[in-house]
Symmetry: C2
Subunit: 380 residues, 2 copies
């Protein structure tokens, strides 16, 4: 750890042409802020599933090895040959990681907007947050309300705006209720709170009785367990009751997306009057926004012809709805930061600790209920 | 065959609750035309892939058996247990078959519109065309130009409007070129003629060198063979040259839809300036409009997050664009019926012949190049 803010550690992920992933900490000079920029001492940055894609790429972490020193640990792992095509664009480029974070402004540029932030606790989005210092535009900082810690504000953007974005997408595309998978996740719990507050029916799909329990406790009404032998019937019943015809799926791989479409179709056909060989004319949509299961998505197409499956990402969604509407969503997050949008972490680690194999083994699993927060200014 | 038009043979498909498919010919009274209706003696009706879904359902035709008499043949086959859910809506209901056809008006209702059709050769869409007589609304008849035979007009709707609909969808959704699979089919050849005429770049994906040859002969510029060891590279190159980001897929099952998306992404990234972990921001779309391969669709999701896969059907498309625009497409079909929209058949069969196991074995294969036309008034 550097003694002042002139240099600071930054986490880097590198995939070499040889097929080796290398994660390390570099001590790099902190860029001087331009007139409209500030320097933030980062004190909290979550490891979101969306960060893992860049952090460990498509590497096989069962091959991970530790080297380097305690202060400057290095992790290496092999990227399977078949996965190299997908990372072709980043080969031999050392990449900073960390989508969002929060910290305290310790230095500012000369503009009024920048100077006004001095000493303030701010939340940020924009990458390279797994670092002790982050130089960033003043306009890209969200000032947190008095009495909010960096840890409380670290996850201000990705999960809150993603869950709000799902409800918005549901409304804009003409659906009246939602389905969500991996539903006991931090994001899933947030989505439950939003839907309860907004009166939107939400069907939660989880993968264990324990996860059902987590959601029942926070008031979820529709929870179905995909490991239950009666999963398809339970899901169909929940879809009949709610009328949900749009789902957001964090799993991606395997049969789940197709099962959701099949159950939606079965639910719709329960009230159908005539047989149509092409299935119902009601459009059924699954958006895949994550890849917890890296296997191929398998659709058996037993759900008629009025269906769609596609990728969904927060930033294109925010661009599509425009600045004004996106700003409204951000305002709501700040207003409900300690209630609806509160995040819970199971571990707070330093940059060095984040590179310990024992921790990587936990967070790389992407397991529901395990959520890491990095504090780059915590002693290693 | 009945001696007059008071009764006529009609092909029926029935799936029993016991899991047995039964295809037979019923002699049924021809409904009297109401004021605005006419009776058409059907002389030509194609067996389109879209008809096979209703005709043989999900039955396993390797179990097909023939019984009955030469004049009243009966075909039975087993529907696999796993496929019964998909046909639940039609169980124990005897269903007429045949989406489109053409014939001569032999009797009319009392309205002026109906009477004006007497003796005319007309094309029709609306189901139940595998029948000797079809009573239908005068407004649902498309009068064919003088000198057009029923065989020439039998495929006026499904393939012509589907291929025109693909080009329209491409334009309306902001893409500049097209990909089509099973591209040497009747419909695929039609699509080539439209694209050549309209100056739209079309990437044809076929499954054999013979099919490539068929398309080269009619002037196709981009033809790639999915059985070639360099398929992925060939497709990517064609996508770089054409800029196609939308595909219409008749295959449905297996890896093809995902391969198309992966090649589109690779083609786009060839001109990318920076690495994005989420892939390109260009939306890539595959519409599945058929199911020549009944296996599940397998998407390996190596194509970023800006993608969609969905079902595409002619009638919802026509409804979406509205009456006026749909009428324009129909007008174009009639104007170019003997050129752009000419169909070719390898067999013309009677209703009885259509129920011979030797013929079923051919048309149920859905093989490119084999196209059947039923003439319900041809002697058996």
């Amino acid at each position: 750890m550097s003694a002042d803010s002139k240099t600071g550690l930054q986490l880097r992920s590198l995939i070499k042409k040889s097929g080796e992933l290398e994660i390390s900490l570099l001590d790099i000079p902190t860029p001087e802020p331009s007139a409209d920029e500030v320097v933030v001492r980062v004190e909290a940055s979550p490891i979101n599933p969306s960060d893992l894609g860049l952090l460990i790429g498509a590497a096989d972490m069962t091959t991970a090895k530790a080297s380097g020193t305690k202060d400057a640990p290095v992790i290496t792992a092999k990227v399977p040959e078949a996965a190299m095509r997908a990372v072709a664009g980043r080969l031999d480029e050392s990449m900073p990681v960390g989508n969002e974070g929060a910290g305290v402004v310790i230095k500012t540029g000369t503009s009024e907007a920048a100077k006004a932030l001095m000493g303030k606790t701010v939340a940020m989005i924009g990458g390279a947050m797994y670092a002790q210092y982050r130089t960033i535009g003043a306009g890209d900082c969200l000032v947190l309300p008095e009495g909010t810690t960096p840890a409380e504000g670290a996850s201000c953007f990705v999960n809150p705006l993603t869950s709000l974005g799902m409800v918005e997408t549901m409304r804009r595309e003409g659906h009246k209720a939602l389905v969500h998978t991996a539903a006991a996740s931090n994001l899933g719990q947030m989505l439950n709170k939003i839907c309860l507050k907004d009166g939107v029916a939400l069907v939660n799909i989880v993968r264990s009785p324990q996860q059902s329990e987590i959601l029942r406790k926070i008031g979820a009404k529709y929870v179905v367990d995909s490991t239950s032998p009666t999963f398809m019937d339970n899901l169909t019943n929940a879809l009949v009751e709610t009328g949900a015809t749009i789902a957001f799926d964090a799993i991606g791989g395997g049969k789940l997306a197709g099962q959701i479409l099949a159950c939606m179709e079965a639910a719709i056909n329960k009230s159908a009057k005539v047989y149509s060989r092409y299935g119902s004319s009601v459009h059924k949509q699954v958006y895949i926004y994550g890849g917890l299961d890296l296997r191929p998505t398998e659709l058996n197409r037993t759900f008629g012809m009025a269906w769609g499956v596609g990728g969904w990402l927060l930033f294109p969604f925010l661009q599509k709805i425009g600045m004004a509407d996106a700003f409204k969503l951000r305002q709501r997050v700040v207003a409900e930061l300690k209630t609806t949008f509160a995040s819970h972490y199971t571990q707070v680690v330093s940059l060095q600790e984040a590179l310990q194999l024992s921790h990587i083994a936990v967070y790389a699993k992407r397991a529901t209920g395990e959520k890491y927060l990095i504090n780059p200014n915590k002693g290693g």
